[in-house]
């Protein structure tokens, strides 16, 4: 994979703030790729995006885009464009004037061509007929579409998106995520997409870069984070629950809950005698009512099709999602099996 964007050994601190905001971050993007920068609040993902855009500068390291070193260049001199969490539309302009804001001010095109490109962008974003409207007349989703169109009109080499959909309701969010993917395919637009939502990252990105405490913990395809996390932090972030201390003996996991065969593991990666956590996904419960495991329900939280239950079982409290058709009340006994495919092991 040839690197279109290359972030090399990026370090960043803020004055008056203890510790590194970013430490030795190395990341590459191929042309036309979408990479999601994923992490909890304060993990440094927005700072990294601002360093690429030129709104912040790194203490150490290099940003190279399409063979050109960007360090020291102001934002307007980089061929990047950014879409923020807030749409940040210019309230004194119409929708069309917002969309063609940058090329109009920079006199990038002749008037007729600018008009044609603006119309084409409005069409691409399903905003035909909105060109003359005030931006104050738009809904939240439409505002964010205009913001996206305004950035795309600059024909950036790299589009930076900083949690662009986090303020939208869930249905609108998924609709726009699909549109962003479609734009990526149609325009071949390279994108760096910041989010704290692992589902959003998995839906939009070709690859996910997971930032943990300012360090780039792992870059991988989204499903790998779900099925094979490499650390406790990763496992927690991608929806794993039930972290049970265990050790590895004779190729089997030994824990307070019993002894199990390692589920589909590359055994070489694990060393006997060291401490591990056995992780069990909440969706692992099956054969509810007739399984070999049994426990007592401590709490039950309905979640639509399933109920998230805390179950006291073999000295541990397991969080498992049980089908909603079985009504469970605290204090009741329940039996179930656990799907070994939804077990995983991470170092403690």
């Amino acid at each position: 994979m040839s690197a279109f964007l290359s972030l090399e050994n990026i370090y960043k601190t803020y004055p008056g703030q203890d510790g590194l905001v970013l430490a030795d971050v190395n990341l590459t993007l191929a042309k036309g790729e979408i990479v999601a920068l994923l992490g909890a609040s304060g993990s440094g993902k927005t700072t990294l995006l601002k360093i690429v855009s030129g709104l912040e500068s790194q203490d150490k390291g290099r940003v190279v885009l399409d063979g050109k070193i960007l360090d020291g260049l102001p934002p307007e001199k980089r061929s990047t464009a950014m879409v923020f969490q807030k749409s940040l539309l210019f309230r004194h302009l119409t929708v069309a004037e917002n969309i063609n804001f940058a090329p109009r001010l920079n006199r990038a095109f002749e008037r007729a061509e600018l008009r044609a490109r603006t119309s084409a962008m409005l069409e691409l974003l399903h905003l035909e007929g909105y060109g003359r409207k005030r931006v104050t007349e738009l809904s939240g989703g439409q505002e964010q579409r205009v913001s996206l169109g305004r950035a795309l009109m600059t024909e950036p080499s790299l589009l930076l998106l900083d949690e662009p959909l986090s303020a939208l309701d869930i249905n609108l969010k998924w609709a726009l995520l699909m549109e962003i993917r479609e734009l990526n395919v149609r325009l071949g637009q390279t994108m760096l997409y910041v989010t704290h939502d692992q589902k959003e990252a998995a839906a939009v990105a070709n690859r996910v870069a997971f930032l943990d405490g300012g360090r780039l913990a792992r870059v991988a395809r989204p499903h790998e984070f779900y099925s094979r996390p490499l650390s406790l932090a990763e496992a927690k972030f991608f929806g794993w629950e039930n972290f049970i201390p265990c050790s590895l003996e004779n190729g089997r996991l030994r824990s307070a809950m019993g002894e199990y065969a390692l589920p589909g593991l590359a055994l070489g990666a694990y060393r006997p005698g060291e401490g591990y956590y056995m992780c069990i996904r909440p969706e692992a419960a099956k054969n509810v009512g007739s399984g070999a495991w049994s426990g007592v329900v401590k709490s039950a939280l309905p979640q639509g099709l399933g109920t998230l239950c805390e179950i006291e079982c073999r000295g541990e409290t397991l969080k498992l999602v049980l089908p909603a058709r079985f009504v469970h009340h605290p204090g009741e006994s329940v039996s179930f099996d656990l799907d070994p495919e939804l077990f995983w092991v991470v170092p403690s």
Binding site: P75, S79, A81, L88, F90, A102, L105, T154
Partner: protein, 283 residues
């Protein structure tokens, strides 16, 4: 009956407005039409409009107010742009730029006398430094017919009003919009004219109206710093009102009505212009 019940909670406010505003204004307007012989007419207005001194005072007040407002606005914008970033000593700079808000206008005028008069601090300092050869060599900045001291006082006293209202916007909404424009490839000058200015115009409009009206109607500063040859409209009006000649109060009333009308027309015209611009810009 229903309508009356709905109005009932506002009745105390209506009574208060009537006694504190409508009644005195009504008395002034009525008084302005009572002529020297006790009959009703427009003689007072004719008398005043034909008076060179009134026209001169009106022109003088308008000129000093326009100049003060314009300079205060320019200074306020520079101040707000300089103070929006974080830098060492920012708190002190912020304090220095707004402490004059707490100085009463009378005290502000007296400070200017101490500072700018021919025997004041600046004059003494200029003489000590050998820049002038005495009191006569220092320019007349107070008690002058051009109103320079007045303009300086109004600017000093009023520019924080505009500056602080603009600063709030520059530090929040405008900053984000500027960053957005920068990431779209728009340079600093274009960002200033196409993003910063349109964002602060509503706040500037409101605060400049307040500053213009305050300096136009101010009495203390012109009374202390003004010259005997050229009076501001407020000083002239007061002198007319307290004059022992009984025919003068009705003329003072007519003067009040006329100057209020001029101010009102100017403010409404300004609002109409800026609101038109804002409508055009969708604000």
């Amino acid at each position: 009956m229903k309508r009356f019940t709905a109005v009932l909670p506002f009745l105390p406010l209506v009574v208060l407005m009537a006694t504190a505003y409508v009644w005195p204004v009504g008395t002034v307007v009525r008084g302005s039409f009572i002529e020297a012989d006790g009959t009703a007419g427009i003689g007072n207005y004719r008398q005043i409009l034909e008076s060179y001194y009134f026209r001169d005072a009106l022109f003088f007040s308008l000129r000093t107010s326009f100049l003060s407002t314009f300079i205060a606005m320019a200074l306020a914008l520079v101040m707000a742009l300089a103070l929006r970033d974080t830098f060492p000593g920012k708190r002190l700079a912020l304090f220095m730029s707004q402490y004059n808000l707490s100085v009463p206008r009378l005290a502000a005028a007296m400070i200017m006398v101490l500072l700018l008069s021919p025997t004041g601090f600046l004059s003494s300092a200029a003489y000590s430094l050998g820049l002038t050869d005495g009191v006569a060599g220092f320019p007349w900045l107070v008690y002058d017919a051009k109103g320079i001291g007045l303009v300086i006082t109004f600017v000093w006293k009023f520019f924080p009003y505009i500056g602080l209202s603009v600063l709030g916007i520059l530090q929040s909404a405008s900053r984000e919009l500027e960053e957005q424009a920068a990431t779209l490839g728009v340079g600093p000058w274009r960002r200033f004219f196409h993003v910063v200015l349109p964002t602060v115009i509503p706040a500037v409009t409101v605060s400049t109206i307040l500053v213009f009206a305050a300096s136009f109607g101010d009495y203390e500063a012109p009374a202390i710093l003004g010259s005997a040859q050229r009076r501001s409209i407020s000083v002239m009006l007061y002198l007319k009102y307290v004059d022992p000649d009984m025919k003068n109060p009705p003329e003072a009333f007519a003067m009040m009505v006329l100057s209020s009308l001029v101010l009102m027309v100017l403010i409404l015209g300004y609002r109409w212009l800026t609101a038109g611009g804002a409508r055009k810009r969708g604000l």
